[in-house]
């Protein structure tokens, strides 16, 4: 039992007043994708009109927190519905949840019994299946009633009728700065000077169009895979849980063998385990690439394959013979295959065994998903449903019942007890049922996928499902003490005809749930903005009114993006544009710190983003290997060109193990033990950045000076013989350009910031010249790159001699910039 209202009754009117304008900027009709909020300055408040409360504002301020207590049982498809209640509470996973709850309050809160709202009587335990929820004094009850009455009265009030309230000023990145940051975060090539000039002279609509074009970059597809792996966690390093039988065809299939033998040794790990491990992420990538409705990732009866994984789905004769003269990278290319899998078959061993495949359900039927979200004979896929609820419905199952669980007061199933529901606490004890009523029917979607990562098998005639689950799952012949609630969704039972294809049925239900679009937006928000969505604040938190306001604003924004996404055929690209053009991405500074909750400015770049940023700023990824520094950009990569073009990140090396270690050191995840990214720098992470920056800068200088000016991307317009004293102006102009490229700041050549950086250059130059130090670290010299010299002087320098002492000086400058806060954060 909790006492929320004792504080809310007092604070709510004040909070409501503050909230009004926060919400009033959005009248609910604007389309953030078509018309993103891109003003140079966010609305500055200010009106003498008295604030008024819309129904949504009232619900938010006075009821959002206490309704959290109700939603456990009164969630859609939840315990209360199971027991016959019609009252439904919507959480923030539903777009427009405040309006929905306002309507519910108006319907049930407006009914009076003995002079008191029925809803309040229920909350006090009168005629309430959930017992007493609130325990308050008469005065507090009266205050609550007043607020409830206000909410009821306000129902139908639109926000535009209310006056704005003060919230300060937000300065946004200008169009050039936005273009630069978007390119870096989205993994697009660094824009050219002409593109920056066009952005500066153009409109926000033109900028949005340019950002949309960034979503065609290969780096963006890497980002898509990364953001979805952050939640799906399928790209784990091991993959040992995958069904070994899938590999059997590879051992015997002649076409596969031809491909494997044709691959260089370095490439072997890739097609083997990695291919199946990456299948869900490649599936999502492919849906995005082909602009398919995003709902297909859960519901479509088609698979995404490359020539290796296709053998598992389509077997002999259905996968093309390899052209051994072809670049092997073609075999790795992923594609959508729309042949119905349930009509195909796969071969075991000599082919004596034959098993038809099940109907597919997007990523849900992939080995990697079922492996990462494996279950047990007693968990019965509930773990999977918890994951799906969180990822695709934006709802935490744990949040349904935040009360402590106490197994010790729940009578366990008695093996000698009666075989009825009374002996099944999941269904007979409300403490259990509050979650299980929501979770267990959905778990029925996995009824044909009982344990572990096994690829779902549809039986040939005369055979049975593994472990004989599907024939008993939630059926009368299953003992009542362990029987699951009937498979279904949101209170609607699964049709008998769908039981054999339960997972596609479930996937389709999830993909058509009103929460699905917003959950998708949330994943993109986390990746692009760099922070998760704000949670509903608690009244005890510092700065509660401001946090509540920020929460409401953000949910309104995200909800409207989600609605546009749904209306637009679930193409995810416009989500990206809406996010990039929003203040959450573009805020540069605020006049009132309390108005900045939820803004992503200053986010720490992920290791993968950092790797891509190295590429666009220094012209190359950082590579490491067992012998740090040299065995990189190997002949294998050179020979096979873009073979590894789909590299996960900039730290990939010959062995994924080293790559994984780097990602972990820099705050990334391994999808098994480390599953949450680190979002702030430590001393050790900074040292790792120093190492990668030093090494990459070292190589970049040598490589850049090994190219003619027109082919350079970093040290443009400077030559190695430009030294302090005689070429200060040229050097400062180059440094000024680097400041924008690396740090995102427009510092003029004559500025103090450029002078500081120039001083670093000058000091290194002087020191090296005084010491006559012309040696270059061997690790920095790449004889196989940068052979396209523009003059003999440069060639001499690149060949291993810092003839003018400037390479060392530039190394200092680039290392400084690549370890600056503004480089590692955006």
């Amino acid at each position: 039992m909790r006492v929320y209202f004792s504080t809310l009754a007092i604070a709510a009117p004040l909070v409501i007043a503050g909230l009004v304008a926060a919400c009033s900027a959005d009248d609910g009709s604007a389309d953030p994708i078509a018309n993103p909020p891109t003003q140079g300055k966010a609305p500055t408040a200010g009106s003498d009109a008295a604030p008024c409360a819309s129904a949504e504002d009232t619900v938010l301020a006075a009821f959002a927190v206490p309704l959290q207590e109700c939603k456990g049982c009164h969630a859609r498809g939840g315990l209360a519905q199971l027991r016959g209640s019609q009252y439904v509470v919507y959480d923030e996973a539903y777009p427009g949840f405040l309006a929905k709850n306002a309507a519910g309050l108006a319907t049930y809160g407006g009914k009076l019994e003995e002079g008191t709202s029925v809803l309040l009587r229920k909350a006090q335990g009168i005629g309430h299946g959930g017992g007493k929820i609130f325990d308050v004094s008469v005065e507090e009850e009266r205050a609550r009633y007043d607020i409830l009455a206000a909410a009821v009265a306000a129902t139908g009030t639109t926000k535009t009728e209310c006056a704005p309230a003060p919230q300060g000023t937000t300065l946004l990145l200008d169009r050039e700065e936005t273009l630069r940051k978007a390119a870096i975060v989205l993994g697009a090539p660094f824009p050219s000077e002409s593109e920056f000039a066009a952005a500066s002279a153009g409109t926000d609509e033109q900028l949005a169009a340019r950002v949309l074009a960034f979503t065609n970059a290969e780096g963006f597809y890497e980002l898509v895979r990364e953001m979805w792996n952050d939640v799906l966690l399928t790209d784990s390093a091991g993959g040992s849980g995958l069904d070994p039988s899938l590999y059997a065809p590879w051992k015997t299939d002649p076409t596969t063998q031809k491909r494997v033998k044709a691959l260089p040794a370095e490439g072997l790990p890739y097609p083997r385990m990695t291919a199946f491990r990456q299948e869900p992420l490649r599936y999502i990538e492919q849906v995005v690439r082909e602009n398919r409705p995003f709902s297909e990732i859960l519901s479509t009866n088609q698979v995404v394959v490359n020539d290796f994984t296709a053998t598992a789905y389509f077997g002999k004769g259905l996968v093309p013979e390899p052209d051994l003269n072809q670049n092997p990278s073609a075999w790795m290319t992923w594609r959508m295959d729309t042949r119905p899998t349930e009509q195909s078959f796969r071969m075991y061993g000599s082919g004596a065994e034959r098993t038809t495949m099940p109907k597919s359900a997007g990523i849900l039927t992939t080995q990697a998903f079922l492996d990462a979200w494996s279950t047990t004979s007693t968990n019965r896929s509930r773990n999977r449903i918890r994951g799906l609820y969180d990822i695709f419905l934006g709802t935490s199952i744990f949040g349904l019942a935040e009360r402590p669980i106490d197994s010790t007061v729940i009578d366990p199933p008695d093996p000698n007890g009666p075989d009825d529901i009374s002996n099944n606490p999941m269904q007979s004890n409300n403490a259990c049922t509050v979650c299980h009523a929501v979770m267990d029917p959905l778990a029925g979607g996995f009824r044909n996928h009982p344990v572990g990562p096994y690829l779902p098998l549809r039986p040939d005639p005369g055979t049975q499902f593994p472990m004989n689950w599907a024939t008993t799952y939630d059926q009368p012949n299953e003992p009542a003490v362990t029987r699951m609630l009937p498979a279904g969704y949101d209170g609607v039972p699964m049709p008998e005809s769908e039981r054999a294809v339960a997972l596609p049925w479930l996937g389709a239900k999830i993909a058509s749930d009103p929460r699905f679009p917003q959950a998708v937006v949330r994943v993109f928000f986390r990746a692009i903005i760099g922070r998760d969505l704000l949670a509903l604040p608690q009244p005890s938190e510092v700065d509660y009114p401001a946090k509540l306001r920020a929460f409401a604003q953000q949910r309104a924004f995200v909800g409207s993006v989600a609605e546009s996404f749904a209306r637009g055929g679930m193409n995810v690209r416009p989500i990206v544009t809406a996010l990039v053009m929003s203040p959450y991405f573009r805020a540069k500074s605020v006049s009132d710190a309390a108005s900045s909750y939820g803004f992503g400015t200053g986010r720490l770049l992920t290791p993968e983003m950092l790797g891509r940023k190295y590429r666009v700023t220094l012209g190359r990824y950082f590579y490491a290997s067992g012998d740090p520094g040299f065995v990189n950009e190997s002949s294998f990569v050179l020979d096979y060109g873009d073979f590894f073009q789909h590299a996960k990140d900039g730290f990939r090396v010959q062995g994924m193990k080293s790559d994984a270690a780097w990602r972990l050191v820099l705050g990334g995840i391994d999808s098994v033990n480390a599953t949450k990214r680190v979002d702030a720098m430590s001393a050790f992470m900074l040292a790792a950045n120093e190492y990668t920056a030093t090494l990459t800068a070292c190589r970049a200088v040598s490589a850049e000076f090994g190219r003619p000016l027109e082919k350079r991307s970093v040290l443009r317009d400077v030559r190695p013989d430009m030294v302090p004293g005689t070429h200060d102006a040229e050097l400062k102009r180059a440094i000024s350009a680097l400041h924008f490229r690396f740090l995102g700041t427009r510092d003029a050549p004559a500025s103090a910031e450029v002078a500081e950086t120039f001083a670093i250059f000058q000091a290194s130059y002087n020191e090296r010249k005084a010491a006559q130090d012309k040696k270059l670290p061997a690790v920095c010299v790449r004889p196989d790159l940068g052979t396209d010299y523009d003059d003999l002087t440069t060639k001499f320098a690149v060949a291993g001699n810092d003839a003018f002492y400037t390479q060392g000086a530039w190394r200092s400058v680039l290392t400084l910039l690549a370890t600056d806060y503004r480089f590692t954060h955006e």
Binding site: T378, S407, P413, G602, L664, A680, A683, A688
Partner: protein, 509 residues
């Protein structure tokens, strides 16, 4: 932290540290840290504490046979007695099982340094929530892990470059300290980042000179400090603050290299502390013919040696570590086999930790918390004799060692149904069973049914007026925050990261 405060701290640090020119000289500094350390070891998957520190008379194994010959107060803990019928062992695919330990042997050897807390309520039976609750004391709010709080509280006095060594699943810091994940091959390069280090002489030349490095670091720090407060955007100020802290500590990272070199060399040698080997002769070896034994030895030494050496060198203050290298504790099937193997692995790690810390001379400064996600049901589920499993149970145990733990002591208790006794707020060594046929119990005193008594989390004794509460994991964490000096050092942490159920403090530690 506001700008003024960390500029002051930077100035203080600069007087003693930034003035040093040699990176080797800088490297020597962290070893001056003379405070305590904290290490949390997670028995991930939910252990069965009746196999270790909360044994039960009459408990049957999965096949229905007695698990123990008897139960006694052996070495001060309730565990099995007799000739160690409960042996923790590996279960290799081929060959004979390798006995690693037994609860009797373990407590005989280490009771003098252990405090056991039984009957601890984790209030959840979900792994994610349980790992969070055991790490931070709150199953709902993502508070900083205890190890992070301890490192953060100490960082105000000491710039340990890898103050908090992260491990396992839950490493939330609340930005009180940075996260350091240390890996052998990568760390060697990171520890001396400007050398572009390599074992090969061909690549040993530094990319930048020491003076160049100093200039870069100084300007980088200055620029970061100048940015503080400039945007007023909450997220940027947060990440900027941690970045500035990192610029102060990262120059000592070179000192980590020495610790890791020592750890690597020691692990490679396979040397085990004599006290460790004495207990289980022949079990652990790096050189023998027994492949399983070699694997076990390598697993035990590799992870912990790095942490111990970082503590010894003063470059780390706290760490989280997960001991699941021997398989899972999550025994929904094959419970007895899985628990014995996982428990054997856990105790092997603890043996190594304690005996090696003795060798390194840091035992008197090393605090250890051994805890799991929660407990397991006192009954088996499923069918199939030895294949039967157990389910999740919100009541479990914890073990502590180190200067803050009163040795050879246990607090809290459970009944045979593994229900937690209530604990006296005034004197946590006094417990009150919820239901008992003999003596006082909540049910008899309150004259309520056993089920109603079991549901009570707080009870006032009608005779003495003493308040009894069910010990929760949040109580343990608050008690440890106090014992570790976190609250004394940083009272703001206890306010900002408030634990639930703080109406009553239980002095469990």
């Amino acid at each position: 932290m506001n700008r003024r405060r960390f500029l002051q701290m930077g100035a203080l640090a600069g007087a003693s540290l930034f003035g040093l020119r040699s990176r080797e000289a800088l490297a020597a500094d962290p070893s001056a840290y003379g405070g305590q350390f904290f290490l949390q070891i997670q028995a991930r998957g939910a252990w069965d504490v009746t196999f270790l520190c909360d044994g039960k008379r009459g408990k049957l194994n999965a096949s229905g046979a007695p698990l123990f010959s008897a139960v006694s107060q052996r070495s001060g803990y309730v565990t099995q007695a007799g000739n160690d019928p409960l042996l923790f062992q590996t279960n290799p695919p081929t060959g004979s099982p390798l006995v690693l330990d037994s609860p009797g042997r373990f407590f005989d050897d280490f009771a003098d340094r252990l405090l056991v807390v039984n009957g601890l309520d984790f209030e959840t039976n979900n792994h994610s929530s349980g790992i969070q609750a055991s790490s931070c004391g709150d199953r709902i709010g993502e508070l900083p892990t205890l190890a992070a709080l301890f490192a953060g509280a100490n960082e105000t006095r000491r710039q340990a470059p890898v103050a908090f060594l992260a491990g396992g699943q839950y490493n939330v810091t609340g930005d009180v300290v940075g996260v350091s994940r240390v890996f052998g091959g990568v760390t060697a390069a990171v520890a001396d980042p400007y050398s572009l280090g390599s074992a090969s002489a061909q690549y040993t030349k530094d990319s930048l000179s020491a003076s160049e490095v100093d200039r870069i670091r100084e300007l980088r720090r200055k620029r970061a400090e100048a940015l503080v407060g400039g945007t007023r955007i909450e997220n940027k100020e947060r990440t900027l603050s941690t970045f500035v802290s990192a610029t102060r500590g990262n120059q000592y990272v070179v000192a980590v290299k020495r610790a890791l070199d020592l750890a690597g060399a020691h692990s490679e040698s396979g040397a085990l502390p004599p006290a460790f080997v004495k207990v289980a002769p022949g079990t652990f070896t790096r050189t023998g013919a027994n492949a399983v034994a070699k694997q076990v030895t390598a697993s035990v030494t590799n992870g912990l040696e790095t942490i111990l050496q970082c503590f010894k060198a003063g470059v780390a203050v706290s760490a989280n570590f997960e001991a699941n290298q021997f398989g899972t504790f999550d025994s929904h099937g094959g419970h007895d086999t899985l628990q014995k193997t996982a428990m054997g692995g856990l105790l092997a790690h603890l043996r190594y930790l304690f005996t090696r810390a003795d060798e390194l001379g840091i035992s008197h400064r090393l605090n250890v918390l051994v805890i799991s996600d929660f407990g397991r049901t006192p009954y088996y589920v499923g069918s199939g004799g030895s294949e039967r499993g157990t389910e999740h149970w919100n009541i479990g145990s914890a073990m502590l060692a180190g200067p803050i733990a009163a040795a050879r002591r246990s607090v809290g208790a459970t009944d045979d149904r593994l229900r937690a006794h209530l604990v006296s707020v005034k004197d946590p060594t006094k417990t009150l069973p919820v239901d008992s046929t003999t003596g006082e119990s909540v049910a008899s005193l309150a004259k309520v049914s056993p089920n109603a008594a079991a549901a009570l989390k707080e009870f006032t004794h009608p005779g003495t007026g003493d308040i009894y509460v069910r010990p929760r994991v949040s109580h343990l964490h608050r008690s440890m925050r106090k014992a570790l000096g976190i609250i004394a050092e940083r009272p703001d942490f206890d306010v900002k990261f408030r634990l639930p159920y703080d109406k009553h403090d239980l002095k469990l530690v």
